[in-house]
Every structure is written in C-alpha cells, then in structure tokens.
Amino acid sequence: MLNLKNKNLVLYLLVGLLILFIASSVYLLNNPLLNISKIPSIALNSVRRELFGIIFYHHNYIQNERLENEKAFLRQKINSLNEIYLENLRLKKLLSYKQESPFKVIPSKVIARSPDNWSSVVIIDKGSSNGIIRGQAVINNLGLIGRVMETAAFASKVMLISDPNLSVSAIVQRSRQEGLITGTLGTQLIMKYLPEDADIKVQDKIITSGMNQNYPKGILIGSVVEVAYEFSGLGRYAIIRPAVNLSFVEDVFVIIR
C-alpha cells in the first residue's frame, strides 16, 4: 500500500522523528496555550450561562422562589450560629485551647475541561500569579476535587480524583481503616489495598488521611457504595461514590496553606 522509495523513506523517517520530538516537547506549549485559551473559554462559558438562563427560565423561576425562602431561613440560622461561634471563641480563649489554623484557600472557576475521554482534567482561571503552585489540593464546599498538576501565569490544570493517574491516601471516618483511593475515569472511585478483615461498610464516609502534605486531613472524599473481594482473594476493595459531582464542577477552592 505504501510503496515507499528510498528517498521518500528517508524523508518520512525524518518527518516521523520530527513529530516524535515535537510530541515529547508538547508540555512546553502547555503554559502559553493555557493562558491563551482563558479568554475564549470565559466568553463561551458566559454564552452557555445566558443560553441556559433562557432555556430553563421556568425552572429557574421556581428554583428562585424556593431559594429565596431558603435564604431567609438560612439567614436566621447564620445569626444564631454566629452567636454560638462568638461564644465558642470566647470560651476557647478562656481555656487557652490551641486552635488549629483553618485552610487558606483561593476561590476559582472552572473554565475548560480535558478534550479527550482518557483523562479527567479541568482548567481553572487562577494561576501562579495568584499563588497557586503544583501539587496543591483542590476542594469545594462538598469535598475533595483533585490536585493542581500544572500552573501557568493566569490558569492552572487540575487533575480530578476520577483520573486513574491520581491516588489519594484515605481513611474510613468511622473505623479509621486506611486505603488508597484511585480514579476510574467513570463516575465512581476505587479504594484499594484494604486487608481481608478491613472494617468497612456500605455508606461509610471516606476522608483524606493527611499522610500526604498536599491533602490536609479530614477532607471528605465520598461514601462507600460497595465492598468486594479482590480477584486474588487476598484483600478487599471498595467502590466509592465521590461527594462532589465531578462531571459538573464549576466553582472550586485551591488550598494554598
């Protein structure tokens, strides 16, 4: 089919080598492309938001009414909780409790996603100029989302916990059983390396163990939906449903300290 002559063969080999060289240096183009893509991505996201606003007008109207009621209720609750919080602060001061410092986070928005089906990656609109560095954990109000894998000046690439390249050391909140959470590229995660007699049940909450400095201890990862024996029969594994719906994550926080 190819019918290559010697002269052509050399040419094709050279082109092939050039392509291989470019492919191995593709990571050098990541930063400029991440920065360039920010503007059209934000514009397209705005168009999508406006379109969805028009299409789902009725749904939004009903939801708005419900949320208004909820807001009034929550405002009252915040007021009462604020009182309790202030009281708590006063009492802690009195008892000279050592208060563990909370996370310092940077709020950010998801502006793009991985173009292929073989990786779970999102691009966020904050980068190294905002103090984000590689390896920092990314969360939202529901739980763990992933880890910063690359930063450009004004955007960063975040690998989601559903990516099989990312593993997180985790524990079962109830029994403190340790395991390793890995992504599957699907909607669920796998907790591996559980011993045969592991104390783990369906609906147990899974949190980060704090073994890795990048992930502070106690961040919710998800809940157990199934526990089964490994093929070898030597250990068990658990299927975890992530606390965060990773397919539609939009607002995230990067833990910078």
Partner: protein
C-alpha cells in the same frame, strides 16, 4: 484562504470541545471534534498540509490533557499520513465510506490510547475501556456528517 478558514474552524472546534461539549456527554463519553477535523483535513488537503493540521490538532488536544508525552500528536499524524496514502488506493468519495473511515480511525485511536495508558501502568476498569471503544466511534461518526457539510460550505474549494 481556505487553509486559514480551516485553521479557524479547527481552533473553534478545539475550544468547543474543551468547554461546551462537556454538557453533551453520553455515559461520560464526548465527541472528538478534533479527530473529526483531523480526518477531514487528511481527506481534503495534500499530505504536507494534512500533516500540519494533524500536528496542530494533536498538540491542541495534548496541551489540555493529562499526558506528559504527546500521544495524540503522534497518533493524529500517523492517521493523517495513512489516510492520505489510503486515498491513493481507495476512492473515499461517498458518505458511507467517510463514516466507515471515521469510525475505524476513532476505534483504532481509542484502542491504541488505551493500550498505551495501560502499558504506562494506568489501571482503567475493563468496563470503562469497553464503553470508550464502543461508544466513542458511534458518537464521533454521528457528528462527522454535519461538521463535514459545514466545512464543505465554509471552504468549498478544498473538498
């Protein structure tokens, strides 16, 4: 001029793929617009330009993926080259042949990407791999014809 228009369409397809297409997924699988553009480029342009567009779309895809090595850059160029060579032997001038070609290319692309990832030590459940290998060619083939017709209207001389 037609090359410039095609390049613009390629960039627009890439941006749509990383933004809007996330909301139109079937069982977490989405359409590969860049692969479609790559096949159209291979069907429409001479080898030199076809390789350039394949390289461009491959780099675009790899830049936003999690891969350290440009798997898509290499594979896209390989598919572009093979399609151009195949066109000298077989006439790919009707819709059925084009659909068959895009389905085969998507299937092979996903199969090879999966094998490369597994070879690199990434463990992906068999069900997920099967879903990608089966669903991705179907979805990509469905979107091929409208995009092909659109590009044909946008730059008619090339097709």
């Amino acid at each position: 001029m037609k090359k410039l228009i095609f390049c613009m369409i390629l960039i627009a397809s890439g941006i749509i793929q990383i933004t809007l297409l996330n909301y139109f997924r079937l069982f977490t699988i989405k359409v590969d617009l860049l692969l479609i553009c790559m096949v159209i480029a291979a069907l429409s342009f001479p080898l030199k330009w076809s390789l350039f567009f394949c390289l461009f779309s491959g780099i675009f895809k790899d830049a936003f993926s999690a891969n350290d090595f440009g798997i898509n850059t290499v594979l896209f160029c390989l598919w572009g080259f093979l399609i151009t060579k195949l066109m000298r032997k077989i006439a790919i001038d009707n819709n059925m042949m084009r659909l068959l070609l895009i389905a085969v290319v998507t299937l092979l692309h996903n199969l090879l990407t999966g094998i490369i990832l597994m070879y690199c030590g990434v463990v992906v459940p068999f069900g997920v791999i099967l879903r990608m290998i089966i669903l991705s060619p179907i979805l990509t083939s469905i979107f091929f014809t409208p995009l092909f017709k659109f590009i044909k209207k946008a730059c008619p001389d090339s097709l």
